[in-house]
Symmetry: D2
Subunit: 286 residues, 4 copies
């Protein structure tokens, strides 16, 4: 089995020597760095870094690293940082509606152990895909939302998420606007797939709009959900060529493969702690 | 040398047997079909076709084909059609401002005979690229436009275009809105390159907007110019991947290669008479 | 429900008027053409065509169409043709070994009715993926092949295929060479996915070879299986960018998404009767 | 004007702390780092790094940096390194034969100052493209090679290269094998464009071979020339989709745009000192 590692994600005002300081902290204390990538946004003068190191000979105990790092460096350099450990499996809830192509792709990866993640349950606003949950042995909870019960249902959803210690949420073609309450509890922890190359075709029926406009490419975009519709930080995008020969149905059909791949790429990067957000944009490390 | 051919572009309400009727017209009269492609828009119930045939044994003289076809078929089937002859070289005017990557790409193709086209002159609102014209031996006319002289300058431009029997215009990063007078004289005969994947980032400074939005792809779009800005029929689009590492300058730099290739592909399709427009969209034959 | 249709795939020596003849045959006899695409290979002087029409008002009964078409046209024009009916569901067998990404993708499409196909069973040379069959309720037959039992096992496989009237076979990362007996019974009816852009990296361990060579793109190729290894007609190919940062494991990982999409695209085209083979190449209609 | 910078390219056996050591060397001596990227090849246990810093406050004089760095670090860490200065313009010779699409693309970039490079002359084995040189005001030297004069001509070429202090050579569709003498004088300093996705279709007529094989993608590869044909370290590759509709001529035509873009990307990376070679592979920094 692989050694447990610590992963540190940092951003802070850029200044000389930060890499040296951080790598020195790890090296001097017996950590073996197995990943290091960094980025400087020259316009914003912000420094971004992801570093991962093996813990077995590291002299600071895991539960003290955050405190030590904070005391010794973070406050000094005005750092925003997050610390993760590879031996913790993040807990992911999947939200679906009636289309199954994305959830099948997610679950096939999950069930074969491709991802280091736990999926305790699926939430839906429709009963249609319960059989998908059954097929993979994952509980499927239906929260049918009407005008009258919206507040209660969302409260119930949130309770379920919190009770199960869900770390992040994947909207796998979930065709309902997520309430602000949930968004605020999961800031930059809800990943959506939108079926267009944003910012083109925000909102409903993007394939219809793409057909109408006569574009020669269609796209899909995975992004973190914020309270503004389809406007959160973009994690990944991809396109496929289309032509005058493609009807709306053909666009929808071609788009399905895009959507599932683009969503899964984003989920994977999130699970691997390779996404940093800053000013409504993402740094996605390789 | 290649045989002269006739090229017929058609669209009409869809009904059975149109291909048979048109190909029969050509075959029976001794034309050898060397290209045939067709498309049916099922939603609009419109039929589109491009057919090209060799003229050497065709019994109808070239200058009579239009009349015969119109009389015998076009009115009967309610066809919109255009007839072209391969032995005519279309005359193309290039408009530029200060950036030269697109015009170099166009002129390199022109000067080596890659395209069956004539370029009588270049028009610009700035003197900067006169040396490009000189390099390739092509007259370069500057029409510097100010608030006061706009109407006159545009009239002078139009006069130059008409005097030189220009068939179509290519805006090779021409950074000024073309007057409606010119657009109306050249309906779906002005090809522009916009430096984004439309309909995202319409208008000025799309790379800045793309950077701001944090997209993971940038694009370029070639389209026919209509009186609504960046809203005409799209001919071709392409994208390239970008990441958080790319500054605005890097986007501009990466975008240049996209722009020139996407513009040249559209110009080529136009020269080959492979683009049909219908309801603000294009059918681009292979 | 959709109307039943007939699909005709043709290739023959090119000559003028074949489209007219075939469409006339359909129109005159009351068939409504809903798809027509054609291609001429100018080098080989071969004509290819796919035409599909609705049968409900067609005067020739389905079981007589083949005979009539053969008598009236096929022999006259020296045509090779195949006739299919949309109300027949082709029967597809899936072969797997130990990797599940392709079969999950195929079965998710199958089970949700995305494809008009029947999957009676899965065949494997290993028991590992039996649970995938169970999950989707599809029988899973293991034929473990050793040096001693190879001939018997293959005979048993072939018997199973024939007893179940299998129309075509999909090798979903089946890591064993298929015997010539089976290949000969299913000419251009066995679809394989090879994990490289053929003809580069034929044979075993293409990702290792790609890493070794330092390529900047990796690919996947779906093709019909012939008796020469990885040399059959190519149906579809796709690539993804890689860099010096990608280890062999990373190539394998990135390649999985390619493989499943490229295989599924080929299977879909095959199910839709849109692939014609000629001289070890394919014509893949849109 | 931009500040002059120093660029250091390094590879060495991997060990902890190298980044810290190198960045410390620069920071402590007053250099402002404006670029840093690194890569570890885990298989080979090799560390690669590119670092660039502003020289204006750097206390070590430019002409002493190499010596100091070598003494203090390179021998200690067993480093292979190269040092470049941004105020030196590398000198590039272009070799062409009869096709002009690549050289036009290179020269348009050169002449507009897109690249920090000097092009003292063009060498060709044919007189055909002399007018391209004339157009851009660049001397064009013809070395027509026959069986009898091969040795002399190559010696003359080499003399011309050395007399003009050429730093690197670009083969812009130069259709003749470069002699080993020149290759050995310019190790990993000759950039070629091969019109296929290597290692597929090595050698002559790759588009013919691609057509014959029926591939669905064609590619182009830029690589450093070594004495083994088409087998040197790959710098960049790209592909474009093709179909059964594309004749050999169409492949050649589509390929031209690929070739010029792929070659120019490689040349740019080389000029920017962003390519490191190791064991017949490249590390291409972003």
């Amino acid at each position: 089995m692989k050694q447990p590692t610590a992963i540190l994600l940092i951003h802070c005002p850029d200044q000389p020597g930060i890499i040296a300081v951080v790598t020195d902290f790890i090296n001097v204390n017996g950590g073996n760095i197995i990943y290091l990538d960094q980025h400087v946004d020259k316009d914003q003068k912000v420094f971004f870094m992801r570093v991962e190191w093996e813990l077995d000979s590291f002299v600071i105990p895991p539960n003290k690293i955050e405190e030590y790092f904070n005391t010794l460096y973070a406050s000094k350099y005005n750092m925003y940082f997050r610390l993760y450990f590879s031996d913790y499996k993040p807990r992911m809830a999947i939200f679906v509606s009636k289309m199954s192509h994305c959830i099948y792709d997610l679950l096939a990866r999950y069930i074969t152990g491709e991802w280091h993640v736990e999926v305790p349950f699926i939430i839906s606003n429709h009963p249609d895909l319960e059989n998908v949950g059954t097929r993979f042995g994952i509980p499927y909870h239906v929260f049918a939302v009407t005008k009258d019960n919206k507040a209660e249902q969302e409260a119930a959803e949130l309770a379920l998420l919190e009770k199960n210690k869900i770390d992040f949420i994947v909207l796998a073609r979930y065709m309902q606007v997520v309430t602000e309450d949930i968004i605020n509890k999961y800031p930059h922890k809800i990943i959506n797939i939108h079926h267009s190359f944003l910012p083109a075709f925000v909102g409903a029926k993007p394939y219809h709009a793409a057909f109408e406009r006569g574009v020669k490419l269609i796209g899909a975009t995975s992004h973190y959900v914020t309270t503004e519709l389809d406007a959160g930080p973009i994690i990944e995008q991809e396109i496929v060529r289309v032509s005058h020969k493609d009807s709306i149905d053909a666009l929808v059909h071609k788009g399905r493969d895009l959507e599932k791949i683009v969503l899964s790429r984003a989920v994977e990067k999130h699970i691997q702690r390779k996404v940093l957000t800053y000013k409504n944009k993402t740094v996605v490390f390789n």
